[in-house]
């Protein structure tokens, strides 16, 4: 088990290094060169020179590379070329907002998806299953930003019970904070719910059809114990994996949903930086999102050792 955790950690670190290196190479190979991409083709040569200096592009490539990696390890991402603001600070302000929406989205997703998936599997081909399946398909088919707009029209504009725009920090109270993130959370959480629910359903159905369930029944194990103790425990394992991988759905959704709700999170930072051609900010924000995704999936992999005995005993 220890070996497994070490192996996964090394793998995650390797991928992280690959991501950082690719961004380094990508930044330097932007068609036409990064400085001209940022300043325009007819930029003043003095300005170009100043920016080359600021970005460290005048040093030899290996030195630039070492600088880049050491800066990253120290969480020193440089400054925005548009506002001069420290990028670390920009991320520190934006990331909690994105994380809040993501956490709400995942929580809603799991709270709805797991019970609904179980109900759907247990009542296979009954009306409840059809309703759940239909809702799941609708959730899979609507872009999160559109769900956000519809929720906003209903709850903020028509009913007027939730704020329309913006983000209230947690420091101003739990309730105002929650009111500002519940709709964006729902918007990113519904497609996620749909995926997890479908997975929960098919995974549980598969377990319920296996031979050991028949054995358990023959032994006289009660139906509730069979379902919750025997089948569910095994059925949850692939669901946990999907729950980690599908965070990509949440992260992808947050980027657009933040724009809908006027929340200045990571998604908005990325889009603004790209539209402003502020490459240092854009690359950092993308690196942070990819890094977060890698870390969460590493965490899911490690969680695995606790829920799946097959991995726990594999190495011993």
């Amino acid at each position: 088990m220890k070996n497994y955790i070490i192996k996964r950690t090394i793998h995650a670190a390797f991928i992280m290094w690959l991501v950082a290196t690719t961004i380094f190479v990508g930044m330097r190979s932007i068609p036409g060169g990064p400085v001209h991409a940022m300043l325009g083709r007819r930029a003043d040569p003095n300005q170009v020179e100043a920016m080359r200096e600021q970005l460290g592009l005048n040093d030899p490539i290996p030195i630039q590379y070492v600088d880049w990696i050491t800066d990253l390890l120290q969480l020193d991402f440089g400054t925005s070329i548009r506002t001069g603001q420290e990028i670390t600070q920009i991320v520190a302000i934006a990331l909690p907002k994105t994380a809040a929406i993501g956490v709400i989205g995942v929580s809603i997703g799991l709270l709805i998806a797991v019970p609904a998936g179980i109900a759907s599997a247990v009542r296979k081909n009954e009306p409840a299953d059809y309703v759940a399946t239909l809702i799941a398909f609708l959730g899979l088919s609507a872009p999160p930003f559109f769900i956000g707009i519809v929720l906003m029209v209903v709850f903020s504009v028509q009913l007027g019970i939730l704020p329309v725009f913006g983000y209230t920090p947690l420091s101003e109270g739990v309730i105002p904070w929650f009111q500002s993130v519940i709709l964006p959370g729902l918007a990113v959480g519904l497609p996620y719910t749909a995926v997890i629910m479908r997975m929960m359903r098919s995974s549980l159905l598969e377990e319920l059809g296996k031979q050991y369930m028949k054995t358990a029944r023959a032994k006289g194990v009660g139906s509730q114990v069979r379902l919750y103790k025997h089948a569910l425990q095994n059925a949850l394992i692939p669901v946990v994996t999907i729950a980690g991988i599908q965070l990509a759905v949440i992260i992808g959704g947050v980027v657009t949903v933040e724009i809908v709700f006027g929340i200045k999170g990571m998604g908005r930072v990325i889009v603004q930086a790209i539209l402003n051609r502020d490459y240092p900010v854009a690359e950092t924000a993308i690196l942070v999102l990819a890094g977060g995704f890698i870390m969460i999936n590493l965490f899911v992999d490690i969680m695995y050792t606790f829920i799946d005995p097959r991995i726990r005993y594999e190495e011993s």
């Binding site: 793998h11 390797f14 991928i15 992280m16 690959l18 991501v19 690719t22 990508g26 932007i30 068609p31 036409g32 991409a37 398909f137 609708l138 899979l140 088919s141 609507a142 872009p143 930003f145 559109f146 707009i149 519809v150 906003m152 029209v153 504009v157 997975m199 098919s202 995974s203 692939p238 994996t241 999907i242 991988i245 965070l247 990509a248 759905v249 992260i251 992808g252 980027v255 657009t256 724009i259 809908v260 990325i270 889009v271 790209i274 539209l275 051609r277 490459y279 854009a282 993308i286 999102l289 990819a290 995704f293 890698i294």
Partner: protein, 324 residues
């Protein structure tokens, strides 16, 4: 196809133990196409989705005939659904009443006509990106799975790396890298973003097909690696690839809508569903229909493709992969 012709059955029929026989549907008389058609005829929802998809394709192809107006023509601004603009369309001094079944947007474009033309972009992106991701991803997966060893290591590390980016974020990064908007850039970005899904899937399939007897036979006959991959392995991996492709079309349509919505997709003047939704966002309190109508268009299209993909999966009997 004759039942007794041994060359037609690549896999020997499996003896089904009696305890399984009552639940499982065992039938080796029907071809895949027959099963597919039967599966769709039995399920009305799937049949409906099939017609919806055909309808949307026809709408996109014949957009100039289906649309009521030129999508770029401007009429009265922010008109409600089922309203009329009074404009002098042909500049002859007489004012005509122009019907807007779904209203107009903030530029005065007829929303219905823009949605009709928007279907072209959505479907084009959906189909072409799938082909792009399929070609690149399948090649990677085939080479990695077939050759194994260091080829596999290198290619799969690349796939792992790509997997670290949520698709939309990767597509945004590629757009930023290319610099500039346009349909081609969107197609390139989304195709690349989904390459890893195909690569993983195909590699997984190849790993077990590679061990089959008929591959050993092909080696023994002296067939070249390229020929074995193209003629022996690929045809046997076709079912899951087709299913993956149908799953990807709606994802690509959603991704295009997302990029356009962010202003990182096609040029701002192009009629697309994502851009219309983005335009309507500023008028959500006064003119909800600008966002809601194209949003519904996306939902109906993606839903139909999703149900169709699900039906295909059932018919081709591809197991849902737990991990990919």
């Amino acid at each position: 196809m004759s039942e007794n012709d041994p060359t037609k059955n690549v896999e020997p029929p499996i003896e089904v133990p009696p305890e399984y026989q009552e639940d499982e549907y065992v039938d080796d008389h029907k071809s895949t196409a027959q099963l597919l058609i039967e599966g769709f005829l039995e399920n009305k929802l799937r049949l409906l989705s099939f017609f919806v998809v055909i309808g949307i394709i026809l709408m996109a192809v014949f957009a100039p005939m289906v649309a009521l107006h030129d999508p770029d023509a401007t009429y009265s601004l922010l008109q409600e659904p089922n309203s009329y603009s009074s404009v002098d369309v042909d500049d002859d001094g007489t004012v005509e009443r122009v019907w807007h079944p779904l209203g107009t947007d903030s530029f005065g474009h007829d929303i219905y006509s823009r949605i009709v033309y928007g279907a072209r972009i959505s479907l084009l992106v959906g189909l072409v990106t799938v082909i792009g991701a399929f070609v690149v991803g399948t090649t990677i997966g085939l080479l990695a799975g077939y050759f194994g060893g260091w080829v596999d290591s290198v290619l799969m590390r690349y796939v792992d790396f790509q997997w670290a980016f949520p698709e939309i974020v990767l597509a945004i990064a590629i757009i930023a890298y290319i610099g500039g908007l346009g349909v081609m850039n969107v197609i390139l970005a989304i195709s690349l973003a989904y390459v890893d899904d195909f690569a993983r899937l195909v590699r997984g399939e190849v790993l077990w097909i590679r061990e089959e007897e008929f591959i050993k036979a092909a080696h023994a006959l002296g067939m070249s690696d390229t020929r074995i991959m193209a003629r022996e392995i690929l045809p046997n991996a076709v079912a899951p690839i087709v299913v993956q492709a149908t799953v990807m079309i709606p994802l690509a349509i959603l991704a295009e809508a997302g990029l356009s919505f962010l202003g990182l997709g096609v040029k701002p003047t192009t009629p697309t569903w994502g851009l219309l939704i983005s335009d309507g966002r500023g008028y959500i309190t006064s003119a909800w229909w600008i966002s809601v109508m194209p949003g519904l268009a996306i939902m109906v299209t993606v839903l139909a493709f999703n149900i169709l993909g699900d039906g295909l999966r059932d018919a081709l009997d591809v197991q849902e992969e737990g991990i990919e």
